[in-house]
Every structure is written in C-alpha cells, then in structure tokens.
Symmetry: C2
Subunit: 303 residues, 2 copies
C-alpha cells in the first residue's frame, strides 16, 4: 500500500514523506482516513501551545525555544496556525524566513496552517498533524496560534501545556479574565519585559493567578529579543515536561482527550454537512415561503 | 410567558429587550431554545457582511455606512465579531466609542461578540442575533468580522452580500486568491485609496475578478476616512440590496440557508459534546493504555 509505505517513511524521519502525509491530511480525503487509521503514534511527543494576541512576539519566542531544544538534541516540530496569514502575507513570509533560518537543520520541521476551508475544523487537522509528527519521532511540537479565537481554544485542548504570551500595554487584568485567558494558560509570559508597565502586569497576573482554584500557573517576564528571562521560562516548561516524561496521567490524558474530541467533532461536522446538502436546499425554500422559521428548519435539518 | 413578553417587546423595537434577548441567546441556555422557537422574524432585514484583515479600516467604513443608511431613515444593527477583542481591548474600546457616537440615535444598535466560549460556534450565535434584529424591525444588519478565519467564512454564509475590505501593501493577488478571498466577496473595496499602490491593487483585483466564472463582484476604491469613493460603494451595495428588496430568490436563499446550516451545525456540535463527556474520559484512558489509537478512539466516540 502506498499509504503504508508513506507512513513507514514518516516513521523513519523522512521529512519529505512527512510533508506529503500532512498534505494528505489537509486535503481531508479518503486517503486521510486510511492514513490515520494506519497510524500508530508512540505518544512520545510533548505538545506545547503558544498563544497570545498579534504583536506579542510569538514567532520570536518560538524561535528561541526551538534553539533551546535543539541545543539539547531534541527534534522539534512547529505548527503555526494563523487565521490571517495568507492575507497579510506576514505569517507566511515569517514562516519562510524561519524555515530558512532552520533549513539546514533536519531536526526542525515547521509547517504553517491557515484556518480556512476546514469544514471539519482546524483543530482536527492540528490533532492529526501532531500525531504525524509523533510518528516521525519528534520530541516536541510547538503549536503557535494567534489571538484567542474559537479555534485557539480548541487547539489549547490538544496541548500538554499552554504558554499565554502577553506584553505591557495590552489591556488590564479584567480584560484578560474576560477573554478567557485565565482559563487556559499553564505559563503566563510577559514579553518585552523592558517596556513600561511590564512589572505592573506581572503583579496583576500574579494576583489573578492566586485567585485560581484548581490550577497554579507560572508567571514569567522575558524579552524574547534579547533573551532575558528565557532560563526561567525554560524551567517552567521543563517542570511540566518532566511530569509528562514520567508518565503523569493527568497531563497525558488532557492532550489525548483534546485530540480525540477534536477529531471526532470534526468528523461529526463534516458528515453532517455532507449528508444535509439537498435537504438544506429544500428546507431553505420552505423558510423563504414562510412555512417554517429558520430555527424550525434548523431543527429538522439536524435529525 | 416571560419569553413571549420579551419577544413582544423586541418586536416593538425596545432596545433593552433586544439587548436582553441577545444575552439569552449568547448564554445558550434552554431559554435560548424557547426564545428561538417562539421567534418569527419577518425576513425583512438585509444582511451585509464586512470582512478583511486587521488594520484595513473596517470600523471606520462601517461607521460611514451607518451614517449613509441613517440619512435614508433606515434602522441599522451592527454585529462586531472580533476574535481578539477582549484581549487587545481594541475592539471593545472602539465599540464603546462607536456606541457613544450613535448613543442618541435609537435607530442604531451595535453589539460586539467575542468568538470565545461558543461550543456551538460563533456563526450560530450570529445567525440568531440577525434573526432577533430582524424581529426588532431593523432594515440592515452589518456583520463586521476580522481576518479570514474559519468563523469569518461561516459568517459570510449568513450574509446577503459580502464586502471584502483591503488596502494597498497587504500582499499580492496570489496571496488574496490563496486566502480564499476571491471566493467570498460580492464587493471588493480598496480602502486608503490615496496610498501608493492603490491603483495597482485595483487593476490586480479587476483582472482577478474577470477570471471568476459564476460571479462578477464589483471593485471599488475608497477612502473611508475622507469619504472619497463612498457613493460608488453605496451604489454597488444598493444594486444588491434592491434585488433583495424585490425578493430575489437566490440572494434570499443564500442567507436563509447559511443561517439554518450554521444553527443546525452548532446544535449538532453542542449535542455531540454534551453526550460524549464520560465516554471521552473512558476512551482517553484506553488510548493512554495503548489499546486504541487516537483516531480509533475518535471513531468510537462519534457513534
């Protein structure tokens, strides 16, 4: 089988095979289903989500982390999820630059995914790519997402640990709470720590963190550009990664559950959209004719 | 019934009742289902989507459009969908400023919706709010979305017409095509038309538009700030709105179908997530124990 052969090459660490397998998954065809059912990832990869609003320096931080892990001999995969990338060109360009800066390093694989056209959801695709990278023997996958949109929240569920990147001047504590940021981070990082307001932000975050009941996330100040504070961040990540390495069930189940639910949800949505096409046309006409409300038609469409 | 009373007030144009009804819908409770099943919107509202990357001036353009429609005596609802709003504070603040600038005008209602926490999808919530605004007698609803993420694509389906806002220097034609932008716009607007490259961008868009088979979108150059070119944009919108007003089936069915599918899809996802909780926990443990792959567990979770 071509698929088996492809996966066998992936598991040997063949980068071109990995790229091809990811494309198969992205195209979301029957081949993707075959590929995934043949995939038996060892569950060895540590998944680190890096999220935060645009402009906080996520790419720079991710680049720093790649270098830290490479110095330790770890193989690093990066999934850059950027809803706006192909439009601004920014992320794609940045991606290309990053690719180039790690181009000679076979231990780094960077892939950007635009969040369009995924009827089954970007998070499903991300889950699948994580598993491919796991099969390919990567030690760490960094998932970089922009903003805190719905897809970011889902991607968070796939991670073993989540870094929320912030910077001074981006709003007060209340806004962060409102945005749901305090629900998702394992490590809060204030980047551009040399700017005015960085210390005040740290103080605010620490007091917010103290109000949390079930979790106690870390708070770290860094400058991704100069490298200040990165050792502290590294320590905070390693504290979680070593638990993962020791087989901590809670951490492992979180990512497994996240990936499984996102994959299943994606499949459910896709099969719903596939089977309801003609029926939706017919029901739309009944709504137009005033025989049904949109809500009534939606209820019929569901069943 | 409290719900019936609320809806009766909504249909009389009571703004506080509308605000309350939207909150009920956002909270996504049983009351929301009751409320929606009691809702019989007249289908009179024209839904105009305004999308495009951050920084292109969507808010300024929307503000201009509000003024144009108000001068004609039309009642205008605005749904500002901003995934990153609560974090940067930008959109919420902007929203408040806009609210203030139209605060004395009972013919304008502006509501921002952050794209978090919607297990059933932001597009479902948007569909529901459109219907509430329709019931409340608004003539036009402007849906303002950021970027071209997944939720933007869904929101687009709810609209009768979609404006894609661009500006010079944001990437070339190929990038726009890649982003799926050429698939969704009925009107392409190049804002900040006095900047270098605006005319080149118009030329590029016109040649892209000519390659489309089933549609022929308009291309307009404006300066939302100075007001230049707004008459042309207004004409392009009115060309579509007048078809809508005359009962053009294709245009009407498009939005009805979009709202219905998004509502049903949201319900399907929500009910999937609700019923699979305990099962997901159990299956995750089997994956952790190596008895199942994530893909196999996801397949079992679906059924």
């Amino acid at each position: 089988m071509e698929i088996r052969q492809l996966l066998s090459q992936v598991s040997k660490g063949d980068r071109r095979a990995l790229a091809k397998a990811i494309t198969v998954v992205e195209d979301d065809s029957e081949s993707a289903a075959k590929l995934l059912s043949a995939l038996r990832p060892p569950g060895r990869v540590f998944v680190l989500g890096v999220t935060g609003p645009p402009g906080t320096g996520k790419s720079t931080l991710v680049d720093r982390l790649i270098r830290i892990y490479r110095r330790r001999g770890l193989r690093v995969g990066v999934i850059a999820v950027d809803p706006s990338s192909p439009i601004t060109g920014g992320a794609l360009l940045g991606d290309r630059i990053r690719m180039t800066s790690h181009a000679d390093d076979s231990g780094v694989y960077i892939r950007s995914m635009a969040s369009r056209g995924w009827s089954g959801g970007l998070s499903r695709a991300t889950s699948q790519v994580v598993q491919l990278m796991d099969s390919a023997g990567y030690d760490i996958v960094l998932i970089e997402t922009v903003g805190i949109g719905q897809s970011d929240m889902e991607v968070v569920g796939v991670s073993h640990a989540v870094i929320v990147l912030l910077m001074p001047g981006m709003g007060d504590d209340i806004q962060m709470s409102k945005a749901g940021l305090m629900e998702i981070g394992d490590i809060y990082v204030v980047n551009k720590g040399d700017l005015d307001g960085a210390d005040a932000m740290i103080v605010g975050l620490l007091s917010l963190v103290r109000t949390l009941k079930s979790r106690s996330p870390s708070v770290v100040k860094v400058s991704a550009l100069s490298g200040d504070g990165l050792e502290k961040l590294d320590e905070a990540i390693e504290a979680i990664r070593s638990k993962f390495g020791k087989g901590d069930k809670e951490i492992r189940l979180r990512s497994i559950r996240g990936m499984m639910v996102e994959m299943a949800k994606g499949n459910v949505v896709e099969s719903f959209l596939r089977r309801t096409g003609p029926r939706a046309d017919e029901l739309s006409k009944q709504v137009l004719a005033g025989k049904l409300t949109v809500a009534e038609a939606a209820a019929r469409l569901e069943t």
